[in-house]
């Protein structure tokens, strides 16, 4: 039976190539990239054999291994599951639980991540091959670790397909993900601000020590501990690793058994009273489209998740600039707001794609392009106004001079308006595949092809180009003459309004003309 499952898995892997064209090309590139990365990792692992500091090798191995294990745990939660290898798919075939859980467990080994993991794990044996005893233990650990993490990934994807299958649960998972990112940001900040040359080794060692006793890191520490002569701790960690494997295997078995007898469940539907945003917006096409967009931004995680990462970019930029010392710390205060505005204005550039095939309603009812374009921008405007208002004041406070206020407003308004205008054009002219309605916000369609990158790049680059003028004026104001600040405001507003109006009109024309093409796009990606 396991052999049949394996054949199915191989056929499923091979089917990716059968789609041909860019999809196969992307797969080949991805595989080559993975192979190259694997070779590099293996080379590092092999060359670490001769490293002077065995302690450091062990620490890095533990941390990297734990991160890899964490990836096996987390990544399946946010990816799409087609259900081919879902135990429920086999429930109707009259197979026993044992056959299904073992078969699918074995099948999980036949995947690219599992193969990469296996190769890398085997190369840890090479790392410790200077110490024969440690090498033996490392080999045992490697043999244990591969099924452990592969099964963990299997378990995790089944949990995602099973427990996170409802729409609300998927949205909840997006919320969790955002929370994780938010909680990680102090940690990132800690890493960024760490004085690596002085404390780096100590921190790494402490972290590795701590991790090595957790299920995530124990298996990776076995070889290192043995090489270090700490046989007792090595054996204990081996026991921890074995126990982890046993627990995961049992959990997988139990989950598979449970899933095979549990159909999808229905969640209790929540009832809303009244029309919500629809009651507050003007009763015209643009108004209801705005109300619909606002409702979706509130109810559909795919929309607001886009914004979650926006504050991270300026944070990283500021940190990098501060560390590098290229810009005066005083002037760095001027950077975050424009960067945020750039992304806020850009966020709607693929809005039509988020509707999926539901866009037929706009097309079939002959909705005017202008109404469609303006309505879709409403949520972004609603976000951008407070961002610009509050952000400008905060920027000025951080900068310490009110002189700069006109320039800050000019630049950020120009960025937002330009972004909105260009988004209007790009979402009607060049929509690209987005997460489908009802999918997780983090699931990305498989074949976005080059059009996605091109649309993203062009809309961002053009925004930067148009906004480059006021930005240049602001820079001039800072370094040369404060008089540029007021000119910056006027220029920024002027360019912003012109690009916005032009973009909306152009986008409206494209929307009116390209109704069937937009529908065709939606159908292709349905």
């Amino acid at each position: 039976m396991a052999a049949q499952f394996l054949r199915l898995k191989l056929a499923s892997l091979g089917s990716g190539f059968r789609r041909g064209g860019w999809h196969a090309f992307g797969l080949v590139v991805g595989l080559l990239y993975t192979a190259a990365a694997t070779v590099v990792v293996c080379w590092v692992l092999a060359s670490a054999r001769t490293a002077a500091d065995g302690q450091l090798v062990r620490d890095i191995l533990v941390i990297a291994g734990a991160v890899a294990a964490l990836c096996f745990l987390l990544v399946p939660l946010f990816t799409r599951h087609d259900g081919t290898f879902d135990p429920r798919s086999y429930a109707a075939l009259g197979l026993e639980t044992r056959q299904v859980s073992v078969g699918l467990g074995v099948t999980a080994l036949a995947s690219v991540p599992a193969v990469v993991l296996a190769i890398c794990a085997l190369f840890t044996v090479v790392t410790w091959s200077a110490y024969p005893g440690a090498a033996v233990l490392a080999f045992v650990a490697a043999v244990i670790c591969v099924p452990t993490w592969v099964l963990l990934g299997r378990l995790s994807s089944s949990v995602a397909a099973f427990a996170l299958t409802t729409r609300r649960a998927r949205e909840f998972s997006a919320t969790i993900a955002v929370l994780i990112i938010v909680m990680l940001s102090p940690f990132l900040f800690f890493l960024v601000t760490l004085n690596w040359s002085r404390d780096g080794l100590k921190v790494v060692h402490a972290a590795a020590d701590w991790l090595s006793w957790t299920p995530l890191g124990a298996v990776w520490a076995v070889g290192g501990d043995a090489a270090d002569g700490q046989w007792g701790s090595a054996v204990l960690k081996l026991v921890v690793a074995l126990a982890t494997l046993a627990v995961i295997a049992l959990a997988w078995w139990a989950l598979a058994a449970h899933m095979m007898v549990t159909p999808d469940h229905q969640v209790q539907a929540k009832s809303y009273v009244g029309l919500g945003w629809f009651g507050r917006m003007p009763s015209r096409p643009a108004g209801v489209i705005a109300a619909r967009s606002l409702t979706y931004w509130g109810r559909d995680s795919r929309y607001w998740v886009q914004l979650v990462l926006v504050p991270l970019f300026p944070l990283i930029m500021v940190a990098a600039l501060l560390i590098s010392g290229a810009v005066r710390p005083h002037d760095v205060a001027l950077i975050p707001l424009p960067v945020i505005c750039l992304f806020v204005g850009w966020v709607a550039h693929n809005d039509v794609a988020y509707d999926g095939t539901a866009i037929w309603l706009h097309i079939a009812s002959g909705t005017s392009g202008v109404a469609d374009r303006l309505g879709r921008l409403a949520p972004v405007v609603l976000i951008a106004v407070p961002v610009v208002a509050v952000g400008s004041i905060l920027t000025v406070l951080a900068y310490g001079s009110w002189d700069v206020l006109p320039a800050v407003i000019g630049v950020s308004t120009c960025l937002v308006l330009t972004g909105l205008g260009l988004s209007s054009v790009s979402s009607a002219l060049a929509p690209y595949a987005a997460p489908r309605p009802g999918d997780s916000a983090f699931s990305h369609p498989q074949h976005t092809g080059g059009s996605a990158t091109l649309a993203q790049f062009l809309s961002l680059a053009l925004t930067a180009l148009f906004a480059g003028v006021p930005v240049a004026m602001m820079v001039l104001g800072v370094v040369q003459d404060p008089a540029w600040f007021v000119r910056c405001l006027v220029t920024g507003l002027g360019i912003g309004v012109v690009v916005f109006v032009g973009g909306v009109l152009l986008g409206a024309m494209a929307f009116n003309k390209r109704g069937p093409e937009i529908m065709g796009f939606a159908l292709r990606n349905a």
């Binding site: 969640v267 929540k270 096409p285 009802g438």
Partner: protein
């Protein structure tokens, strides 16, 4: 119901044949060989049809090959089980006897039977016979309508086993009767122990329960006769059940027996106009107080299916070369009658609301639509049927402006949809299939959204939303997200959204898919009223029954080409729409090579 060994009839033994529907033209009256072993001889020697019937007519078949007139004799009305009927013609082929009992045996239970269409109909398919009975007994115009000329072999069965009114119900599947044929000693007398009078395979429960009282009585009397003459070997179980079920009715009916004047009946095997079928249907409808017209339709259909099954059973024992012909005729005869005429199509003076000319659309190498022409007049309920991938959805999408045709024109209400898409779209209401809707909105929000996009003001939109919600029965769900709706409810709310701007033309892609029967009836009613008020509906469907029931015109699209179009009755001719459709779509595929499916794995 005593055991009378002589009365055992081998399954499917008695069959007689009639000329085909166009009557005289076919001399292929056939005799189906009786396979009743010894029983056939008994029958031949002493055929009888008895019962409370006033007119027991025996229809015998002349020698196969010549179009012999059917002889109908009438027997004086007797008490139940007393009247004996002599078969005037007993025809034997290959040493087997053929006897046809007259269906009239069951006709007049309490009224003198006239020479009604019913009484002549004996050989006609059972449904007609049954209806004729009903009409006759109800005093329907006794016009001597020529009998429906088609007499599938199964009718013989029916007649022979007496209760032609009920025999379709008694006809079990081919296999069952064959089994019984192999066992001629089946004890016909005792009733089976199980109480259900329903054969689940043939679905006759519906039929029995739908029987009107008179028809029931007729059936019962005929059944009694059958019991009396100890016939019905092969259907004995079901028959007995039926008898038991209907005996009470008989008792009631026979309390005040009417003397039936023995009247000569004429056989009409010659030309039978189409309207006979309709009239039979109509009179039946008039008469059947117990069955609503709707259920009557259903009833008739069930009956005919059963008759078909019976035909299968009978033909199984027929000559091999004639089997398929028998079948086909039986089918045609049965099913032509199975449906009432379709809605009348709008007159040719009605304006053309939708004109589609030479539509072409290809996706890469695949030609989806290859020169589709449609002309839909105002007030029409127009159905598009076609197999999967025939281009229905593509055609509808092009009409609604969701797709762009490679060539061809669409004119909506006189507006060229290509040149003035927004004007054209304004008068169309759209229900697409397999497209998402904005399902994160509540039902109320979605309707409001659709209405406002269509240019309605807030008050109108709200008013219409609540009206539509009430009409579709979804008012309780208006506050829930459409994403949480069931498929049928989503369909209904989408349909409501398509109608909210009171469009002139509704384009509905599979509007009944996934909709439960009750909701489907609601939707049908709404559509019919909309059409009666001058609206126009263009819908696609896989459901042939539904299309021929509710639509007045139909287009059959196969492979992106309209193979036939026009009023439903014109398109289907004498067949059902389904048969016509399958014929056009390439015929039924013979399924072969599934023998292993019939040897079960455990």
């Amino acid at each position: 119901m005593q055991e009378d060994p002589q009365a055992t009839i081998a399954g499917g033994a008695e069959a007689f044949e009639e000329a085909e529907s166009s009557g005289a033209k076919a001399p292929d009256a056939r005799v189906v060989r009786a396979r009743g072993l010894g029983a056939a001889e008994d029958r031949r020697g002493r055929p009888r049809a008895t019962g409370a019937a006033a007119n027991a007519s025996v229809v015998g078949d002349a020698a196969g090959g010549e179009s012999a007139p059917v002889v109908v004799t009438t027997a004086p009305r007797g008490t139940r089980g007393a009247a004996r009927k002599r078969s005037h013609t007993a025809r034997a082929t290959k040493g087997t006897g053929v006897v046809a009992g007259a269906p009239e045996a069951r006709t007049a239970v309490d009224e003198p039977t006239q020479t009604s269409s019913g009484s002549i109909t004996p050989p006609g398919d059972s449904a007609t016979a049954a209806e004729a009975v009903a009409s006759g007994s109800a005093g329907a115009p006794p016009a001597a309508t020529p009998a429906s000329p088609v007499a599938p072999p199964d009718v013989a069965l029916a007649v022979e086993s007496a209760p032609s009114g009920i025999e379709p119900a008694t006809l079990v599947g081919e296999q069952a009767s064959q089994q019984k044929t192999g066992d001629p000693d089946v004890d016909t007398g005792p009733m089976p122990a199980h109480s259900s009078p329903v054969d689940e395979n043939t679905g006759s429960r519906q039929r029995i329960t739908l029987f009107g009282r008179r028809r029931r009585a007729a059936a019962a009397s005929a059944a009694a006769e059958a019991a009396d003459s100890q016939t019905a070997a092969e259907e004995s179980d079901l028959l007995a059940e039926l008898v038991r079920e209907t005996e009470t009715d008989v008792a009631i009916e026979t309390e005040a027996p009417t003397i039936a004047a023995p009247g000569p009946t004429r056989t009409g095997r010659s030309d039978v106009p189409d309207w006979v079928v309709e009239q039979v249907y109509a009179s039946d409808e008039r008469d059947e107080a117990l069955a609503s017209p709707a259920s009557d339709e259903y009833l008739v259909e069930t009956v005919d299916r059963n008759a078909f099954a019976g035909a299968g059973a009978a033909t199984a024992s027929a000559e091999a070369e004639s089997e398929s012909a028998h079948r086909a005729r039986a089918r045609r005869a049965a099913e032509t009658r199975a449906f009432p005429p379709a809605r009348p199509a709008p007159p040719s003076t009605a304006p053309v609301v939708l004109a589609v000319n030479g539509l072409h659309k290809r996706y890469g190498d695949v030609v989806a639509v290859d020169g589709v022409n449609l002309s839909v007049r105002a007030g029409s309920l127009y159905g598009i049927v076609g197999p999967n991938g025939a281009g229905k959805t593509t055609t509808l999408s092009i009409i609604t402006g969701l797709l762009r045709a490679d060539s061809g024109s669409v004119s909506v209400n006189g507006v060229d949809a290509r040149k003035h898409p927004r004007e054209a779209k304004r008068v169309i209401g759209v229900l697409p299939d397999h497209l998402r809707t904005f399902d994160r909105l509540t039902g109320a929000q979605l309707l409001y959204y659709a209405g406002t996009l269509r240019g309605l003001d807030a008050a109108t939109t709200r008013q219409r939303s609540s009206d539509l919600a009430t009409a579709f029965g979804i008012e309780d769900a208006m506050g829930r997200l459409v994403a949480d709706y069931s498929a049928g409810m989503t369909k209904k709310v989408s349909l409501a959204a398509a109608m909210i701007h009171s469009p002139r033309l509704l384009v509905l892609d599979e509007p009944f898919e996934g909709v439960d029967p009750v909701s489907a009836a609601t939707v049908t009613g709404i559509l019919q009223r909309y059409v009666d008020a001058g609206g126009t509906v263009l819908l696609s469907s896989h459901g042939m029954d539904l299309v021929q029931r509710i639509c007045d015109s139909v287009a059959i699209i196969v492979g992106g080409v309209v193979l036939d179009s026009g009023p439903v009755d014109d398109v289907r001719g004498e067949k059902t729409l389904e048969d016509r459709f399958i014929e056009l779509a390439g015929g039924r595929k013979a399924v072969e090579g599934l023998e292993w499916l019939h040897s079960f794995s455990d």
